[in-house]
Each structure stands twice: as C-alpha cells, then as structure tokens.
C-alpha cells in the first residue's frame, strides 16, 4: 500500500525548487518509479512535489545551430518516436523504445528515467541493505546474477537506465536548477558510483531539478545505436547493453564512444575500447579486440560470470552491425 503523503503541484520552477528543498519532500515527474518505491517502502516521503505543471520542462526543440534540447518531462514515447531523434540520435530513440513497456513509456519521463533508483532486488525488496541504511550489501554473497561486474564496491547495483548510456555516448549535457542556481554538466559526470557514495546514484541534491538534456548538433557521417539484451522480450531491464556513437570518415572510425549498460553502478564508458576502434575500420578483429577491452577490468560475482561473455558478444555484434549499417 502506498503510504500517506501530501501533494503539491507548483506552477513555477522557482517555487518547485523552494518546496523541494524541504527535507522529506520528493520530486514527482511521471511517478512510474517513485510510486513503486513508495509502495514497496524503498523510500519514504512526507510530501510529493509534482513538476508536471512546468510546461517549460516539456518537449523536444531544435536550436539554430542544430543542437537539440529535450525537456526533462518529455516522455520516453515522445523521444522514441521523434523523427529527428530517430534520424540523428538513433541510440537515444532505441534506448527509449527498449525501456519498460508501452504504458510505462507513455507515462515515464526522460528526467525520471535518468534519475530512477536501482532495481537491485535486495534494494527493492524486504531487505535492509547498505544503500537503504543497513549494514551490508546482500548481493555480495547472495543472488547476484543481475549485479555489476565492474565499478562495484560495498554495493553492487547496476544502473537501470537504457537511455543514459545512449545519451552519454551522444555526448549529452544536463541542466540542473537548484537552490544555488543553475548549472550544466556532461551527463557522464552526473552519475555517482558507490566508491564515492553508496547512498546515491547521481549528483542531485535536495531541491535540485533536472530541467533539460542538451544534445550537440548531429555531425556528418555519424551513426549511433543502442543494443540491449534482456531475459524477456519486453518489460525487462538490461542484462547488458551497449550504446555506440561513431563518426566515420571513408569507413575509418574518427571518433567513437562506447557506453555499457547493465554492467556497472553507473553507465559504463569504456575508453580503452574506444581507442581500439579509433583510426581503424571496423572488422571482425577490431570488434573482437574492443569487445575484449570492455570486460578487461571486470571482476564477476559468483553468479554473473556470464556477463563477461555477454558483454563481449553484444559489443562485437553492435560494432559489426554499425559497420554494415
């Protein structure tokens, strides 16, 4: 049962920030993640502040120089089906369309997708785990088939978002407005791993609102993709996935970004793999080398060694598909 809370729907960003600065308050966007967390007792809230009346946080707009601004309240469906995004930022539309289910995508927002809480079943379930203020991470000795193989420390979640790896590959920046004003940062620096702080997944502090996502203007000869592997055909998070963003020149890779989902507590960028493919044609060998580099530093837990094979397989497949595209 969802516990009691009060609800407010401010009409200005300023007011929303003010209300959200009060302890015990939580931001409500589409609610698809938040309400589940409340119902399951994962988080508590005295008051929810809905940002749904902030019209300036909605929609996809193109600026004069061709870059794109996506309001935090834009739904995953709107992003998945937007012709310009589909054409120039395929990784993002593929990421958005591979998330959750049609109903959830109609209701869930991109801001919420990036800021959603982890799906670790110990965190979500009736277990007093480290991230919820308990003593230990149950995944270490427990059922850790879906947990991370890299970047874990004290806590072994994977970041659940399918859009975040795509956005990082596409060099997205995010704008945040909070009590201290507005700041813009690369999405890559938005996420916080457990080494730094196992109680949070990102830099958002009390009163902070993610207002928009900024994508650089599409470059010539650029292609991107997101490939996700899951245990069930829909309504399932990634066992592992890969977002690719590659700029070619005469078939040679000029610039590559390779970001993994399902392997680490944050979307996991693999610079070494990027280096391997840069300056070369993508062929079986480079794909296989890059794929191997993606798991070089991985240390699997007792039940997720399969992810080593999986990551290699999916990266190889995605790179070769990109070459063929």
């Amino acid at each position: 049962m969802i516990p009691w809370f009060t609800y407010s729907r401010p009409n200005s960003l300023k007011d929303a920030v003010k209300q959200l600065s009060v302890p015990g308050t939580r931001l409500h966007a589409g609610g698809t993640d938040l309400l589940g967390c409340l119902r399951d007792g994962v988080v508590a809230a005295d008051k929810l502040v809905s940002i749904s009346h902030l019209a300036e946080l909605r929609g996809i707009t193109r600026t004069g120089n061709g870059s794109v601004r996506i309001g935090a309240l834009t739904t995953l469906t709107e992003i998945a089906e937007h012709p310009y995004i589909m054409e120039h930022y395929a990784a993002l539309s593929e990421g958005a369309s591979s998330a959750a289910s049609p109903q959830l995508r109609n209701q869930g927002t991109i801001g919420g997708n990036i800021s959603q809480r982890p799906r670790c079943w110990y965190f979500r379930g009736d277990f007093h785990c480290l991230r919820k203020g308990g003593e230990a991470c149950y995944a270490v000795a427990g059922e850790n088939q879906f947990h991370c193989i890299v970047g874990g420390q004290s806590c072994f979640i994977v970041h659940p978002s399918d859009t975040a790896p795509a956005l990082i590959a596409l060099e997205a920046r995010v704008r945040i407005t909070g009590p201290q004003g507005t700041r813009t940062l690369p999405l890559e620096s938005f996420f916080v791993g457990p080494q730094k702080d196992f109680t949070r997944e990102n830099v958002l502090d009390a009163g902070d609102i993610l207002t928009e996502i900024l994508l650089p203007a599409p470059a010539a000869n650029h292609r991107s993709s997101y490939r996700k592997v899951r245990a069930r055909g829909a309504w399932d998070f990634a066992l592992a996935g890969v977002a690719l963003s590659v700029r070619f020149s005469n078939g040679i890779v000029q610039l590559a970004r390779i970001v993994l989902s399902g392997v680490a507590p944050v979307p996991w960028r693999v610079r070494e793999a990027e280096k391997i493919v840069t300056g070369k044609e993508i062929d079986d060998e480079t794909a296989s080398q890059a794929a191997a580099a993606c798991v070089k530093d991985a240390v699997p837990l007792a039940k997720n060694e399969y992810k080593l094979h999986l990551v290699r397989g999916v990266v190889e497949e995605a790179l070769l598909a990109m070459k063929q595209a």
Partner: protein, 769 residues
C-alpha cells in the same frame, strides 16, 4: 480440513435414464465445433464483468494479513494493543483468538500446522489478521502489530535439505515419508538388452501460478449461515473444506464464484485467507473482503515444485525402448504436497521395464499446489530430451522414433486400452504441417544466429472425477436456463456448455442464461481443473438438454396427436417428419404455456467400461539462438492435439496458445529465486523480477491443429481434456530445438541467456559440438 472433493468412493454415480442415458457422440453438428466467440466476451472486455475482487457489499470491511517475514521462525509474542486502537479497526485475530485454532496442512499423522501456527516454516506464513474500514487502515493496523520472532536456521535448497545436518523443517527430518516406488518388469535386464543407454540429470525450477486475478474472498454471515464469494476453480471443494474448518453443516456454507481471473491449479481448494475472511466477518459482524497482494500470491498460495530428475534410458538399434529408470527428488515446500513427476515415463511410450523412485523433501518455502499438469512438464523436460538424445544416438528421426513406440493401452493401468489414441496422427500430421523434414534437414548455419527445430510429445494421465449434474430449464418462450456447478476460470466453459445446449435444443446462444459455480443454487460439479471441465460437465449438460427435448416432444405428441417418433425439434419449433407437415413454435404449445417450464436433469455417468480416455499431444518448436548473447527466441510453434472433439475451435485454439505461452515461460523465463545462502527469502516476488512471458516472447507464427480420432467411447460428446496437454511438452520441444540449433543440451530449466552463455562457453572450451 479436507481438501479432496466429493467422490463416490467407487460406487456408481446416478445415471440419466432412458434415451438420454445412452447417447453416443454426435455424427454431425450445427453449433458444436464452430469457432464461436465467448458468450461473455463483451462483459470481460468492457470491464463490466464483476470479479470477486470487484465485489463491494454494504458495510463491507477490508482484511489484511500480517505474515512472517522470515524463512523459519517461532512467534514468541504478538502485541496487538496499538493496532486495536487504530482508526477504522473492527477486529484482529491471532493464534490465541477463540475459534482461530484451526488445523491445517495434513500429513500422514494428522494436522502439521494450524491457521496461525506460531511455528512459521516459510516466509509469508500467517501470523495475524485485521479487518478495518478501508484497505489502508487494515494494512496500517497490520503493520502496527508487533511480533517478537525467534529466528531459526532454515533450509531452502532441495539437495541441502536431504543432508543429515540440515535444519529440520519438521520434527523428524525433512523427508516427506518414504520414497514412492513403481516397478514393472526388470530394468537391469532391460538395460543389458539395450544397444544404447543414456543417463542424465535434468533440473527444473519452482514456478508460481501468478493468475491475473490474485486470490480473493468476500465473507458475509447471516446468523449462522455463511456466504463466501471466492475466486476459485472449485466452489464445492471450498465449501466442504470451509464447512469442516468452521464446524458447520454444508447447508450453512454457500460458496460462489462468477467471473474469475485464472487459477492454473492454485485455486482448486480452500486457502487460509478465505477462512480468515470468514472469521473476521464473524468477529466484526460485517462482511469482510480479503484480497491478496501480488507479493502474497508469490509466497503463500502454491507453486509448481522444482525437481531433480535422473533419467536412465535404454534403446535397441531398431528403436525399441528396453528400460526407463527415473529417480526424482522434488519438494512440495514446507508441508505435504506432491512433487511427483513419474507418470509420463510409465505410460507415454511402450516400454516393458520401468522403475520410478520419487522422494519429496520439505524445505522452508511455500507449499506447492497443483499447477497446470502437475509433474508433467517437468517429466517431459527430462523424458522428451532423453528421447531426442536416444533418437540421435541410433540415427533415427525423432518423430519417426516416437511414432514406432506408441502404446494403445495404458501400461500403468494393467494395459487397459485407451478409448482412442491420436498420438501417432499428432506426430505425423503435426510434422507435415510444420514442414518438419525440411526444417530438420536445413544445413546448420555457422553465423551468430542459429536456427533449430525440435519436437516433443505428451499425454495427460488423469481420467478425472466423472461426477456432475446439470439442470436445463426450458422457459415457456423457448429460451433456456442452464445450471451447472462448474467455475468458468477463463477458459470459455460457459460458452462451450451453452453451445452443447444450443446443439440439442436449437436455441440461439443469446437465449441461454447460465447459472454456475454457486453451491447454494447450482448442482455439483468437480473443480474446474485437471483438464476435466469439459469432460465432466459437457456430457451431463447434453443429457439434461436431451431430457428437456424428450419431454417437450412427448408433450407435443400429446397436444398435436402425433407419435413422438414423427416429431423433431428444430429452430425453436416442433416439426413433423411425416405428412401432413406441421411446424409449431415452442411458445405456441398450450401445454408449455400451462406448465411454464420443462426441467431436464443430466447426470454425467461413469467413464468408459474397461477403458480409459486420455488426451495426447505432439508439439513442434522452431528457435533462433544468438550465440553471442545467449538469447533464445521461439520463432515458430505448432501444436497438434488429440483432445477428442474440439467443442469450440476458437476456445480450443485459445487454450492451446495459452498452454504454449506457459510452456515458453517454463522453458525460458520463469523461476522462483530464493536468497538461499542468507535469508531464505524470495527475491523476485513480483511480476517484474519473476518473468512470465510477454506478447514479445510468444511467436506470431503459432498453429493449433485438432486431431479428432472420433472417439465414440470416451463420453457422449467425444471430447477429451485439453488444458493440461497444451502445456506439457512445450518446454521440452523448445529445449530440443535449442539442441538442434546449437548442439547444447539444456539440462536446467529455464534456458536463460545466463545459462545459455555459460553452456556455449563450455562447449567452446570443450570444442565438442
């Protein structure tokens, strides 16, 4: 508590006398067999259908059940003081409440637990319950009850539970009685005669039924009489157990179930929450509704046992089976519940020497309940993969191999003949329609995507309870009321039964009102399960309808002064077959206008004398395996079913497609996961982490073929059961297809990408294909 339903203990059930008593299946039909949509499709789709969960009675309270959060614990102290004072609370019951001390879970030596037993043997066992004005108040109060637990060591792994040092779930250890042994012939001799002997261990996972509508009951007292609306497959089974639990005569307990959102076996008998609703309602003197949450439904209302099945099989080069030996270690959970799987090994194929040894072990987890073909998909998983492997070893096509070892008698029933067996036709006609040969002989690709096809066969082994009574009433205007005790659990029972009436009386379906599944107003029928709903009820319905027709014709003969033999009932009118031709609408019959109603009662008579009627199936799957990522996609599926006559080809097909989807879940996604090494608690007790297949996991290319052997002996409709066979071989067919595609044998269900990748990696290391 008694959970078995009424049976006649070997005595003859009542029989319909006269012509209706000796009906043989129709030669030709006008309604039966057609692909007609559900008679209640509009109500179900529009949302106007009232399910148990939708029922709201004046003054009704809501119940919530506090459950043990530990895998194994003793309740030391329960304090309800704070909860009792909370707003809206009207009643709290615990183990110490007078009248709540109701024995539960019966073993060989009597009851092994009670309603709120302080010894909680699995996560989710009931500790206390609250009734309050709103669901929120009830849950808040339940949470405000403080319970002191003494946590006990637990065991949730089947093999661990067999170890001598394992924490005992019950005093006296974890074995649920002695192993059960079946023996026929001499297996040692059989294996010695074999040219090929294979032995392998197969494992399956615990599955949860997860019906769309979670379990729910609404209880209302009127003096000493109790009415319960229950989301159940069997109102009579619930009535008898509930009456016994509460010490009431059957006449004081009425149980009804109208629209019902699935059960798959988990709603065949009485559940604790139903008794709790009744006790709370009595205490509060108000009606009480208890609806289980999805999480509760994962923990406390049943599951399909997991099994570790060792199967040894011997075959001669000419394809004759010489011996089958199956050892099963399974668990029905914390209390006695069958985890037996051995049936198929004993009866599906001709084999003179068979040995089956089955052990059930207690673990600290929820108690099993029958789940769609209990034991059969597990056995098919082992047997049908073994058959595939044997066929390969002796170099025979797996379809052909099976075709040559099909029995016409039931070997477990002292070779009692089957009334019919269409298994050979299922295999051959199925293979043809599937283009099996072509797909099978397609050269193996070497790329990352591998395609393969597999086949598996099956049968259902329970002839059921052939006891039921149907009452058919003809109103003066020619419309009809049909009264049956069966639940329509979503399979189309109402539709099919109405079609049987329409066939005999020529009434359009819209003019048939159906009264069903209510112990207060309908006649007895066994629970809707075990592929018995059509088989137990349709013959009785047909007899009832024929009874009405006969009476009507006799009355008409009197009135029209013509011999009965010259009258027929057609299109709502009595017609003469001899000159002068006359046609009198039913509503014009004077005698009917006077009597206003004709009542026909149809009894289902005994099963066929000296024979047994069982359904058979062969299913074919095509899969695509991505060997880079371990993803397995079922891309094509064909099911060929001998379930006798298909009474409605649309609901028939629906049933098969649903069974395939469940088979795909068994094969690829579904498994209960317990935190065995730390807490023993279930980590995936929700619909997101416990993965039932979605529309994306089911192939678009699905075909259902009905193979009708025109069985004249099974019963007067020619129909055999379908619900269980639809899901029995599906998973095994998929596993065989994966083997064909990759050369990897899937010993463990489900075939997740996790398992597939590990096996493919082993295959690469071993270099064997």
């Amino acid at each position: 508590m008694r959970t078995d339903s009424v049976n006649y203990m070997g005595e003859s059930p009542p029989e319909t006398q006269g012509q209706a008593g000796t009906l043989t299946p129709w030669e030709e039909t006008t309604v039966v067999g057609k692909p007609l949509p559900r008679v209640d499709a509009y109500e179900r789709v529009s949302g106007s259908a009232v399910y148990t969960q939708d029922i709201v009675l004046p003054g009704m309270l809501y119940g919530a059940i506090l459950r043990c959060p530990h895998a194994h614990a003793k309740v030391k102290h329960v304090d309800t003081g704070k909860a009792a004072k909370m707003p809206g609370v009207h009643g709290i019951i615990t183990d110490s409440t007078p009248g709540a001390n109701i024995p539960w879970y019966h073993g060989a030596k009597g009851a092994m637990s009670r309603l709120f037993d302080p010894h909680c043997r699995h996560e989710g066992e009931e500790v206390a319950a609250v009734a309050a004005e709103s669901p929120h108040q009830a849950w808040d109060a339940a949470k405000a009850i403080t319970v002191e637990y003494e946590r006990l060591p637990f065991v949730t792994d089947i093999e661990d539970a067999m170890n001598s040092g394992a924490p005992p779930v019950h005093e006296g250890g974890n074995r649920d009685g002695d192993s059960s042994v079946y023996q026929r012939g001499d297996t040692a001799k059989g294996f010695a005669e074999a040219d090929v002997v294979l032995e392998e261990t197969y494992r399956t996972s615990f599955e949860i039924h997860t019906p769309m509508e979670t379990h729910a009951s609404v209880a209302q007292w009127d003096g000493n009489r109790l009415t319960v609306w229950d989301s159940t497959q069997g109102v009579f089974a619930v009535q008898s157990s509930l009456a016994e639990s509460l010490g009431l005569p059957l006449s004081s307990v009425r149980v009804a179930c109208h629209y019902m959102g699935g059960g798959f076996g988990s709603k065949l008998d009485l559940s604790k929450h139903t008794v709790i609703a009744a006790l709370l309602a009595r205490m509060a003197a108000r009606p009480v509704k208890v609806t289980l949450t999805r999480e509760e439904s994962f923990l406390c209302v049943g599951n399909r046992p997991a099994n570790i099945i060792k199967l040894k099989a011997g075959v001669k080069k000419d394809g004759t089976l010489t011996a089958l030996e199956l050892t099963n270690l399974g668990s029905g959970g914390a209390y006695p519940a069958s985890s037996s799987v051995g049936y198929l090994v004993r009866d599906l194929y001709l084999c003179p020497n068979v040995h089956v040894d089955e052990t059930n072990v207690f673990i600290n987890a929820g108690t099993a309940r029958a789940m769609r073909a209990p034991g059969f998909p597990q056995c098919a998983w082992a047997l049908e993969q073994t058959m595939d492997a044997l066929a390969e070893k002796i170099g025979v096509d797996p379809v052909e191999f099976r075709v040559n070892i099909i029995p016409t008698v039931s070997q477990v029933r002292n070779n009692m003949p089957f009334t019919s067996t269409g298994l050979k036709r299922c295999l051959l006609e199925g293979a043809k329609a599937f283009r099996w040969k072509e797909a099978r002989e397609r050269p193996r690709q070497d790329g990352p995507i591998r395609r393969g096809v597999g086949v598996a066969a099956g049968m259902w082994g329970w002839e059921g309870e052939t006891v039921s009574t149907a009452i058919v009433k003809l109103f003066a205007d020619g419309s009809v009321n049909l009264n049956i005790g069966a639940s329509d659990i979503g399979t189309g029972t109402k539709t099919v039964m109405a079609m049987v009436v329409a066939e005999e009386l020529g009434v359009p379906l819209e003019k048939i009102q159906i009264e069903y599944a209510d112990t207060g107003t309908t006649s007895y029928a066994p629970g809707s399960g075990g592929s018995q709903t059509v088989v137990a009820n349709a013959p009785a319905v047909r007899k009832g309808a024929v009874e009405v027709r006969n009476q009507l014709l006799e009355l008409a003969a009197d009135e029209l002064k013509r011999p009965v033999g010259e009258l027929v009932l057609k299109d709502g009118a009595i017609q003469t077959t001899a000159e002068p031709i006359k046609k009198v609408p039913i509503s014009d019959l004077q005698i009917l206008q006077r009597r206003q109603m004709i009542v026909g009662v149809g009894y289902r008579d005994r099963g066929p004398e000296g024979k047994v009627a069982l359904p058979f199936v062969a299913q074919f799957a095509e899969v695509e395996v991505n060997i880079r990522t371990g993803e397995t996609k079922v891309v094509r599926f064909l099911a060929a079913h001998d379930s006798g006559r298909a009474l409605n080809s649309l609901t028939f097909e629906n049933q098969v497609f649903g069974g395939i989807a469940m088979g795909i879940g068994f094969a690829t996604t579904e498994q209960r996961i317990l935190d065995s090494r730390q807490t023993g608690k279930m980590v995936n007790a929700n619909w997101h982490d416990y993965k039932i297949p979605t529309a994306m996991d089911v192939p678009v290319d699905q075909t259902c073929i009905s193979i009708d052997p025109h069985d004249k002996e099974c019963n007067n409709t020619g129909a055999k059961g379908l619900g269980e066979p639809a899901t029995i071989p599906a998973a095994a067919a998929i596993a065989n297809a994966v083997y064909h595609a990759t050369g990897v044998r899937l010993k463990q269900a489900p075939i997740t990408p996790m398992q597939m990748l590990s096996l493919l990696a082993q295959q690469q290391e071993g270099g064997n294909r």
